[in-house]
Symmetry: C2
Subunit: 346 residues, 2 copies
DNA sequence: GTGAAAGCGCTAACAG
DNA sequence: CTGTTAGCGCTTTCAC
């Protein structure tokens, strides 16, 4: 097992190179201000010694350390790791490193994580936070902060266009001949859930769809299975679900009943995560630009750190689109006869 | 948008509390060494001012900043985010924060990420690294480092028991009546791939299975589809795939041919990630204790940081188990007639 | 117990 | 262009 030794400092390099420490510093932080030959020499010596500048010591003077925190409720949720990847690559590109906090859906853990990471980063990305608007604003006073997937007054945010996406889904269903749709709701505290439901109400009215709502449900396979009964009771021929996992759970639950997808009922999800593609039949879903969401968030935050004065704090809205797969189709011809409503599921 | 102000320092607190800065410092870092009433007073004043100690300034003196880096090839791969979550929660529990680097399967990016993060963390977790053993050891000289999913001489590591897992899979297949199995290989550079293949060779011999190997293939859906032809040509009745995604890709590819799973061929995956459960039929797979892998890695690393002198650098081996689902079954009775080998797939 | 002073590794401001 | 001198915010001797 390799023995770890104390890394060389700027002074070691300075001595070895026969120059002043400040010159070494300059050679690394603003190469332009140093004779090209000395700079070269210093670099060589440094490399030789295995010198790496200590970013936090630097941060002490510059009060920036090129660290960004991203706080997510659940790393294992496909929804978030696409966002994380977008954020990570944008951060790396801008020379920032990401600090990751998984709050495991707990508001308490989220608060703790934030308190621990806030003092050490230059800015924070909050993805689908469970905090109150007031709590968010409090933290935003301490460090530049940006909210993903939720609009908060006076706080920069990036959201997806739930309205447009839902509208497309409604049009799609109406176009197939559906007359009714039920929204299968997700977590009560979710901003996205509220936003999607409201959007569906509007869109349904515009395209002439009768709309119901069941829930709330956990955004999990189990939650989807639990939604079966309520959905069937709503007697709609189509379901728009809070997210993909919930939709898949619903589809699975329906399979245990006499109801088949898409012949009896059509199911639409939200987010276009990997599962939508894996499930059989493929899940028609509203695609959120997850990676772009993370990337845009980081870019805006970094711009702010660099002094960009964006007067407005209107949310940045990213477009959504409908991805049509096998889970939607025309409803049964004799529509008067609603689908069987007795759930025989486990 | 909230205005961000410069956070209060230890001096601000000292002045407001009417004590010396060093006393404030002590009140936070070693409360025992301070009069309990003064300490209380200081805490109150600090809270009042919204003081948070700057971890990196502290780190300058103590040369520890409670940061750990985790480097993964692909955040969006379910395999890794289970590991990440395990690592994250173990880190949080030990008072450490995780810094995340996604190298997007690129050795170059991995090197860059490491160079950027190494100087700022106390230790590094390398998950399924693409580096050479020599490269790993070089970095291990600079900071305590631990490798996940790969055994490297002279370097602490945590791996899963591929041997045992593969053995179980082989026994399962043999028990069902299979006489032949083909290993569908993953990336060439992968330590896990080599390890699994070797394990299968041994296990197959022991249980009396004829064994072949096809590949390498990308560990993706596409890679799995591309493996179809080679697999069919191998004329085996069972496939053991490098990982779940590859297995799912293979199953999908097979569906486009005349071959059905599990009636014509059985398919076994590796890792027991979410997709194994979602796919139809469910994928029988060797389950790796992913979360435990991440957690154990962090715990070992932290122990080392705290001065634990573990003499040996033998890999820590975590148990694997076989999870049986619908993708495996008894081979067709008339086994002389091998499955159709003409691939009609896209 | 508490204060004063030095220093962690680096950058910044000021001379030359 | 380069050297000198102060700090950045905190911890750590060493006195008292």
């Amino acid at each position: 097992m390799a023995r770890v030794q104390r890394p060389p400092t700027i002074y070691d390099v300075a001595r070895a190179a026969g120059v002043a420490p400040s010159t070494v510093s300059r050679a690394f932080s603003r190469p332009g201000r140093v004779n090209v030959r000395t700079a070269e020499h210093i670099r060589a010596v440094a490399m030789d010694l295995g010198y790496h500048t200590n970013p936090f010591a630097r941060g002490l003077s510059t009060s920036r350390n090129n660290l960004l925190a991203i706080v997510v409720p659940d790393i294992t949720n496909p929804f978030f790791f696409e966002i994380i990847r977008g954020a990570e690559s944008a951060a790396a590109e801008a020379g920032y490193t990401l600090v990751l906090s998984d709050t495991q859906e707990s508001a308490r853990l989220e608060r703790l994580a934030l308190e621990r990471t806030l003092p050490m980063v230059d800015g924070v990305l909050l993805a689908s936070t469970r905090m109150t608007d007031a709590g968010i604003r409090t933290h935003a006073k301490q460090k530049p902060l940006l909210v993903l997937n939720r609009a908060v007054a006076d706080t920069p945010s990036v959201v997806t266009d739930n309205h447009l996406g839902t509208r497309r889904a409604a049009e799609h269903l109406a176009g197939l001949g559906h007359r009714s749709v039920t929204y299968v709701a997700g977590p009560e505290a979710s901003w996205a859930d509220a936003s999607r439901w409201l959007a569906l109400r509007d869109a349904a009215a515009e395209v002439g769809l009768r709309v119901r709502r069941v829930g709330p449900h956990q955004p999990t396979l189990v939650g989807g299975a639990q939604a079966v009964e309520g959905f069937l009771a709503s007697r709609a021929t189509a379901a728009l679900c809070y997210n993909d996992i919930l939709a898949v759970g619903l589809m699975r639950g329906l399979r245990s009943t006499r109801v088949t997808v898409p012949d009896d009922v059509s199911v639409v999800g939200f987010d276009n995560t990997l599962v939508a593609e894996l499930v059989e039949p493929g899940l028609t879903t509203v695609s959120a630009p997850l990676r772009a969401l993370g990337a845009t968030g980081v870019q805006n935050l970094v711009a702010r750190l660099n002094g960009a004065r964006t007067g407005s704090t209107e949310p940045v809205v990213l477009p959504a689109a409908l991805v049509v797969r096998g889970s939607t189709g025309a409803p049964r011809p004799r529509q008067g006869r609603a689908p069987a409503i007795t759930a025989k599921s486990a």
